[in-house]
Symmetry: C3
Subunit: 355 residues, 3 copies
């Protein structure tokens, strides 16, 4: 069985970091197999449309801005932010009815541009709340972007089973073998899967230890992660040396989110907000660079090696040997598959959902 | 529907510039999906054959010339210009009947080597007359070759709708937006489609303006183009400042011709003969370099971007929005498709042709 | 018809030179379409297993050795040399029954690690005897490895028809056109095809001439080659200036053996033992470097050009014109095809074998 090339459509994906789309340029990215152009209107609002002129299929993002409109680079048909053709320099200037580019809703939240790729009306209630990323100074939050030639579900698997940190990552975020013996508590809702690990280690993760009262000593830690459809994982990690509770902990609140370019290429976005050293821009830059490197150098090569081994095969068709640490990622894979089937099956997928 | 991988077979394609095939070397080019070897006999005649030994399929063009014959680089079977095996160094030297390489007719005309790839006898009456390229000194005509990873019909589209010059090209050949409002006159025959634009601009195209009486002033111009099956476009462009007619114009007579390597790669040949500065070799070299650059830097990237968007889809299957400037290229696409169907349909395509 | 992507399974292939797998590292190679990990136990024994963790398909060869066991780089499942999971750091440490990696028998002989990829028990009686490679000092035998992006049968064709040496190779091993007129004696058994050429040339091949009594003079030479299924060719080549027989000849005993990575990529191994200058390490190194270069620079490019011409087509489906020099390679192709059909046909291929 081949890996699925359908994606959950009635959902928000991150199209770009807010900072990737500036005031003037036309931005291109391939999303769910489609070319997408994103740009900002004069008032700063970001808009998105199919990056393909309906005339002869040239990419509009290689064209020219004229105010809030865009002229195709090939024959200069002009389109407004609604994808409607507003100017045809050819012949009588008649504008064919079909000269219309598909547009996609964009919501700008939490430092990201979120895109809704389905034809049905965008449903903002389906965009999860990651407002803690906004709470605090700009120097206390970092963002990064990576592109990986792998199926996005392999990245979700990676993050949903944090026991891999024991084995894959170096000294900076090591969990010293403490996660693997844990069977994380896992909870599931209609569109989410959560897991929590709690443990002690000595010393704490190196990203936290220097900020604890006794950097060399044992600390209590937890990871809380929540996947929300289609491909968002909110992760909180904390450390404390108090006897109980995490009221005065050192922590960070992260978002990992994946957007398929197609079934074999993934845009991977990452944000982290911390409750310590919040006002140091240089520390902030180092922090996000370090986290970027951890993924690029440690998880990334492994996930790519797994992709190479799997080829175009579906994960379950290869009969993986699953263990206690796989509960959360497997629940995610199954829930996501069910949601996609619900969207694509003729009956609306009720039969499958009722299983 | 996928892009067509059949080509018009009973037709002449340019295999190479005359200058590409020298007196001694074996020349290789992939044409209509086939490896072709071209070389010149001692008397200068160019010959072509399948670049594949019938023994073990080594490319003959990597072999050795022996007079007017060619020895295979692998086991030294020798073939004459008619593709007949003339020497077998193995065993008794018996030459198997099947040891025969397919040959292709070559006609050398107008600075090009034209090839006929069909099994049926070559029909010279189907080779269009481009003799004006021969009329004048060598320093008044230029030739160039480009290879592009695109379907050849996208290049024909590009040239058959010259309104793109208004929007794509820079100052040297700009038509200052004057072409797009025109609805070109289009005419069609059994194997040709022609179009003509006539307009005024101020100043004239920069390639002509310096040779007009008043370089800064308004000039009348025209473009005449004729596509001839399968993929030749003859283009004449002129400028004058006389009150009427083009009797004493400044002009150039060009040929653009495309030869599919296969459905996703095209050999693009270009020739230009002008009626001014005909004796200046340096000007000639600059002229052809400039026209090469215009295509390579301006049309080329756009056509490649279009190809990337279209993937392997057929043009019409993507429902292009067509306009008045598309009349000529669409007529070409339809006529060419009909001619190819006529060749490939069992009934000889009479039914389709009768539509 | 497409080139076959089935391989003979009940057979020994060379997985690696003995020297490629050292005492400590985990070695990876793709064999018959499968990722394989090879390493040596503390006692030096080489073992092989599927290079894919049964948990989440990470390559074990990127993991860590723990004594004679290997821990997966991703979640640290540990496997012994028998492919059995011996340690699970997750949850209760329970080891799922299915946590088992497929292993492959390895036999270390004649300077090579031979692998048996079939599920059936390895049959050492099917490993040909190449013990002459072991007879003599280390400085009298050389080994090399090449990787070529071609189907392995094209390399077998190349070696089984040595007449190509007349035409392809340079002065060092040239046979001066003497092989092609020969019709080699060919013999066939259940799993082998042999051929012998005998001839005189002046001077002898350059690799032998300096060691003959009269280096400039005529010498008698022979080639003896025996292909053994699946892809081993033992080749002996000799020269003498005695009146008859080859009792005191100058010779070398070579093994050429191919292992398909898949149907379009081949591991090509080569060994040569000579009966002269046996104690000169520097000469030995030069000798193997020269033979490596001969293949890499002379046969290799040709075989790759043939592969490019053939694409994914089956050899016979292209109707090759076959000659007397093709008898041996054609017998090999047919016998190998019959053996593969015998393995894969439901009836055990008896019907075909009885033809």
């Amino acid at each position: 069985m081949k890996v699925r090339d359908h994606f959950l459509m009635k959902a928000w994906y991150v199209a770009a970091l807010s900072s990737e789309v500036n005031a003037t340029d036309l931005f291109h990215r391939k999303i769910l197999g489609k070319s997408v152009m994103i740009y900002r209107l004069a008032d700063g609002t970001a808009v998105a449309m199919h990056d393909r002129c309906p005339h002869r299929f040239a990419p509009l993002s290689q064209g020219r801005r004229i105010g809030d409109e865009v002229a195709c680079p090939y024959h200069a048909l002009r389109f407004n932010a609604g994808g409607k053709c507003t100017h045809n320099p050819h012949g009588t200037g008649h504008i064919p009815k079909a000269a219309q580019v598909d547009t996609f809703a964009i919501a700008e939240r939490y430092g990201f541009l979120w895109i809704w790729m389905d034809e049905a009306e965008a449903d903002l209630s389906l965009l999860p709340d990651y407002s803690p990323l906004d709470d605090g100074p700009d120097t206390g939050v970092g963002y990064t972007y990576m592109n990986l030639p792998v199926n996005y579900e392999l990245i979700i698997d990676n993050v949903m089973d944090l026991s891999h940190i024991d084995h894959v990552h170096g000294e900076i975020i090591t969990t010293r073998g403490k996660l693997s013996p844990q069977v994380p508590k896992v909870a599931e809702t209609d569109r989410t899967v959560s897991a929590r690990w709690e443990w002690s280690q000595k010393p704490a993760m190196m990203i936290f230890a220097p900020f604890l009262p006794k950097p060399e000593e044992e600390a209590r830690q937890y990871f809380d992660i929540t996947w929300s459809a289609p491909a968002n994982i909110q992760l909180t990690v904390a450390a404390t040396q108090e006897a109980e509770g995490f009221d005065n902990d050192i922590n960070q609140y992260d978002l990992h989110t994946c957007t398929p370019a197609d079934e074999f290429e993934t845009h991977y976005f990452f944000a982290t907000r911390r409750n310590h050293v919040e006002d140091d821009a240089e520390y902030n830059a180092q922090k996000i660079a370090g986290m970027h490197a951890a993924f690029e150098d440690e998880d990334g090569p492994l996930v790519q090696a797994v992709q190479a081994e799997m080829g175009d095969a579906d994960f379950f068709s290869l009969n993986p040997v699953l263990m206690s640490n796989d509960v959360a990622p497997v629940k995610v894979r199954k829930l996501l598959a069910r949601m996609i089937e619900d969207e694509t099956s003729p009956s609306g997928g009720l039969a499958e959902a009722a299983e």
